[in-house]
Amino acid sequence: MDLRYTPEQEAFRKQARAWLEANVPAEPLPSFDVAEGFEAHRAWEKKLHAGGYAMVPWPVEYGGRGADLLEWLIFEEEYYRAGAPGRVNQNGIFLLGPTIMEVGTPEQKARFLPKMASSEEVWAQGWSEPNAGSDMANIQSTALRDGDVYVINGQKTWASRGAYAHWLFGLFRTEPGSDRHRGLSFILTPLDLPGISVRPIQKINGKAAFAEVFFDDVRVPVENLLGDEGAGWNVAMATAGFERGLMLRSPARFQSTAWRLVELYRETLERGAPVAPGMRERVARCWMDAEAYALNTYQTVTRLLAGGRIGAEASLNKIFWSELDIEMHEAALELLGPGAELAREPWLDGYVFALSGPIYAGTNQIQRNIIAERLLGLPRK
């Protein structure tokens, strides 16, 4: 155990900090869930990519920097420290990308990863269906083989970024009559093919953060199958592992929020506004939990670098960061007092986003089932 950074890691931090300081937009970009903001975020991604920072842990040939996961965490720390924009292509770069890296063919890596890294192609996630939410194994959409294409029929919903994205990855039933987790395949499809219609869905702030996607005899080439036919569930679980922790929700995001909360508490005291007894400890506790999440992630990265894999313990992460995120924002809103309801308040925006945390990527109740069954061995039925 040695928790010091190497001189090379410190040098990388410095370099990333300098680049971000020089390049991060001075004004926040409009939300990537509106058309104008979506394009503004793509332009930012293009700049990041040109600077070599779009996806630091990926190999250079795919648009990355060839760094390891520790440098990835360092980059994330600097990224949040700099207040840089959210990642519009997070479904691609954080979820699908690592999955393609694990199970994709060389052709698929070459075809998809570089355009993902540059956000020339932005990805939506297509897992849930009207009757397959928490019960994801109940997927009904089919992709039936017809020569060298799959013919897709059915409906996906809650497709994050679906309103503006170019591609979608999802699970489809490729074996007619198959049941539950069997007979599913992980397929990648452009969203502009004939037979596809996209209906944006507004989230509670009125912005089109996700979409319903309808498939009517959509013909997708068989090369777009990721992993083996019928093995889609396992491929998706690898993706979910990234979604529940390490990649999508790296710790710097919560550490930066925790520090902002400490600052907000101090400012509130300084301007003499009333502060509830107990708020001091509540704020410190948030900071402590954000720290725990960072520490835990460094442990995970140490394990992964030694050849380990992400398993069911990703469900512990998902519960911890999503509940922490809500707690930090609720503490902040309480500190803001009557101003907390003003639409311009960034903490309010953050709170609305945090509220989705315990729902997406598998609800926290599903995560608790996974923990009890897979980590403690309690019976499913």
Binding site: Q255, R368, L378
Partner: protein, 352 residues
Amino acid sequence: MDFGFSEDQLLLQQTVRDFLAGECTPEWVRAQWQTGTGRSPEFWRKLAEIGVPGLIVPEAFGGLGMDDVDLVLILEEVGRVALAEPVLSTAVGAALLASLSEARVAGEWLPKVAAGDARLAVGHEQSPFVADAHVADLLLLPAGAGLHAVPREAVRLEPQASNDGAQRLFRVTFDATPSTRIAERDEARELRDAALDRGALGCAAQALGVADQLVKLAADYAIQREQFGVPIGSFQAVKHMLADVMVKIEYARSHVYRSAHSIAQRTPARAVDVSMAKLAACEAALCAGRTSLQVHGAIGYTYEQDVHVWMKRAWSLDLAFGDSVFHRARLCAGVIDRATPAESFGYSPPGT
């Protein structure tokens, strides 16, 4: 950057775990509650044979010369089996003696500690009680601005019956003299602070083991106990309670391991790191106790069932070496009043 343990460290932990699983059974733990001292010199000898008391005694004094990172893994195992022998106080005392600027007392006592021939007790300002003072061959006690090393024959003990049958607490009085004094003023302050931090870390490590065991007891019971024709562990109400404890244990563990490193390396933020570890691990253990009790239902509320053996350990550990009020205050001072540098693991806020 390497936030993991070496193969050797994990092997030693496994060795101690296997040894304790065989020797320190729940029946044996309960039997110790009934003995006069509650402590077993025979058991201490066996611990010495596998190197436990000398773990962090420097090699020059016959010990293994390991550090707090090694020690936490062993103390986790001590908690897992609810062992009440003075493993922690002896380690805290040994580290204190080894840090003295003047080597005479260390030279006299540390070889005995490493050989298993001497046990140590440690007093500090955060508690009016000293644990295991009755079996300690040497007591390390604060008085005024100084720090004193007093043999058992020279202290007066007033036993304080504890709620935890395993715990042996005493009020200790002694005559502080120049001959008992081993450090004064700044050095004494520093040694007393270090002892408190190391003790708190050790409690946190034990609390992890206690929490693990309480969850294991509950999961084992939930798998075999049937109601409504199915194992109660198949009910989501039961699963979700236990899952919440698992989350607490997982993140407490990260704090504990990091603070072991902070103490071993004497990092500037170690006081806050240790307080976070103590708070997180004891909270996890207390929550594991309540949850385990609830999962067991009425049977868990009996004296015969083992839940209370570990639950009471959790209560004791929560109060030892600084209770949660003390550690929360230290956390707040460090983070909000910026008593420690405003930078955390990797992330430092803008403007610093």
